[in-house]
Symmetry: C2
Subunit: 345 residues, 2 copies
DNA sequence: TTGTAAGCGTTATCAT
DNA sequence: ATGATAACGCTTACAA
């Protein structure tokens, strides 16, 4: 390994100025006890000597790292990278750094990441759990050790903590209601894994709207899968092969909605004329497809900001008992071409 | 601040077993000097006592943090989040954590981030510089202090380091050649800030192809801006208002290409029939727009992996003199609808 | 307002 | 194969 250059320490500065290291430390930290004169002198010399504080040593001593750990399923995903961006935004402005790991929806990796973050003594953790995650001991570690933990999006009921979610139920409810208002009666739903609350809520919002409208929902019109590109195609194919006479599809994400649209187009089925399609999440592509995809907008960046704010507040608060809150972020229904009935039947 | 629970240390384990802390340390680190029996005993007790190694203390002592700093203009951007994802992938598998900051293309922030990362004693740094960045002292700090530094995409000529770039010149050259093959003669170019090499290279690739084909390029047909949504519209408007008779536009990114397409559509101009349009970067939306956007694919995830590999290799290598390499990643020309001439003129 | 000294948890050197 | 001890660079009582 390349030898790192020897670093200037506060002791070097102290020796040079014939003062004590504690004075140097205080001066550099703007401790008000230190006189203006010495402070200035010390800072000047520190600059000249190329002094760089060793945050590591300070963190070690104070047991505060000013480091926030973030665990997401996949960094390279519009929603998650938006949230991360929001987290970084707040964190940076509050003097925190952000360490990021992706679980790849793999339970083992998620567990290892949690352990590593703990060992690194992060001041707090922000998590959105993976698809496989059904036990939570690896995350309980944090509250047990008094390390603040905030969940977002894919949250965990079993752990008491601040949570930032979007109004999945309400969003799905409004989606479905809109489809019904457009005249749809036989609406299919392609949902995600129900062990994730978000997909469970979307399903429930869907069912609620259907029920309120007095519409029956055949079991066969509800399909749950992993919501990847291929899953969307597979689900749609399954629906079409059964020859179910559907007039609308509510997909639990935009990727699936797009897959559905492309597949149906190939079958010569017109969207939205023959079948209405809606998604969820508002991916960047949804606005520019043909037809553009009606969907539900989730404020990712804002959610990241809120998560970071709550986390940092909890980190810096003295309260021994925290009053945990679940922030339900409002969603926005974006009605675009894929769900707007042009002609009456 | 909430009091953190007192942690079990190797000394606690040592006391409990009536052995020395060094033995415990060695055992936990699988030092071969320790006998199998004691190692097992120690690990068992460590587990029972809920011991969690304090990475901070170890890093402090060994001056190795196993932490990699990543600086990008914007986390929430498909290309960058792909690269980050690739970096995390390799880093995780090699036992490194990844700290991420976004400069927001702001020079001041970029400078502060660099300083913070240094103070945190990251083992190495991976950087893609911001649009405003024209001086590099804040980055030279790393090589000066023997901290490995790897650039990607938006690299810096003035600093000797490993660099991962895409073949911007070649990509732009092939784009232009393709447009010419489709019959275009008066091709406009909407480029990015030329202080960024990538945009300079794309411009040069464009010019080279034009020149080779014996086509003249009017200065007024080349516009440089920041390549955001609005810039694209503004640039296109400028071109159209001048009533330049263009038959193709090569945009230095897909966002601008999309803006151009939307704006031209509104003017009643048909893409690709009247004007061919091409982008660069292959954003997720480009495949699904109407018309789909011809573009150049950059292997973001792979670039991140390569960057991390080179960085970690440099971190762990003993070589005092590194033979810096610039990895030029091949691009892939994606010919889609926006550049495929359907009818002959 | 400044100095002294202990200590954070680990690793590494030198003994044994 | 194991132990004793110093050291990493900083902060923080406590003392002056």
């Amino acid at each position: 390994m390349m030898a790192k250059q020897a670093e200037t320490t506060i002791h070097d500065i102290a020796k040079y100025l014939n003062i004590s290291a504690s004075t140097v430390s205080r001066a550099l930290n703007d401790n008000p006890l230190i006189s203006e004169a010495t402070r200035k002198k010390i800072k000047k010399v520190a600059g000249e000597m190329g002094y760089r504080p060793n945050t590591l040593a300070a963190s070690f001593r104070t047991k505060r790292t000013y480091n926030i750990g973030v665990i997401v399923p996949l960094i390279n995903r519009h929603f998650f990278s938006s949230v991360i961006s929001g987290i970084e935004d707040i964190a940076y402005n509050q003097g925190y750094t952000v360490s990021i790991s992706q679980s790849n929806d793999n339970f083992i990796k998620e567990t290892k990441i949690a352990k590593t973050m703990f060992n690194n003594r992060v001041d707090g953790v922000i998590v959105s759990i993976g698809m496989e995650t059904k036990s939570f001991e690896h995350l309980k570690l944090f509250p047990e050790k008094n390390i603040p933990l905030v969940f977002f999006d894919r949250v965990v009921d079993e752990i008491d903590a601040h949570k930032i979610v979007v109004d999945d139920f309400g969003g799905a409810y409004r989606v479905t209601k809109h489809l019904i208002e457009q005249g749809a009666k036989r609406i299919a739903h392609i949902g995600g894994p129900v062990n994730l609350k978000i997909y469970d809520h979307r399903r429930k919002g869907f069912l609620k709207a259907m029920q309120e409208a007095g519409l029956k929902t055949k079991k066969s019109l509800i399909i749950h899968n992993s919501l990847r590109k291929d899953d969307g195609v597979a689900a749609i194919r399954k629906l079409m092969e059964k020859n179910e006479k559907i007039d609308a599809i509510f997909c639990a994400n935009d990727t699936t909605a797009l897959s559905a649209i492309i597949y149906l187009k190939e079958l010569g089925i017109k969207i939205p004329d023959d079948i209405l399609v809606m998604g969820f999440s508002n991916e960047p592509f949804s606005e520019v497809t043909t037809p553009s995809i009606s969907t539900v907008k989730q404020p990712g960046f804002l959610m990241g900001q809120k998560a970071a704010e709550l986390l940092i507040h909890q980190i810096t608060s003295n309260d021994t008992k925290v009053n945990y809150q679940t922030l339900v972020m409002p969603t926005e229904l974006l009605i675009r071409e894929s769900s707007r009935r042009n002609k009456t039947d």
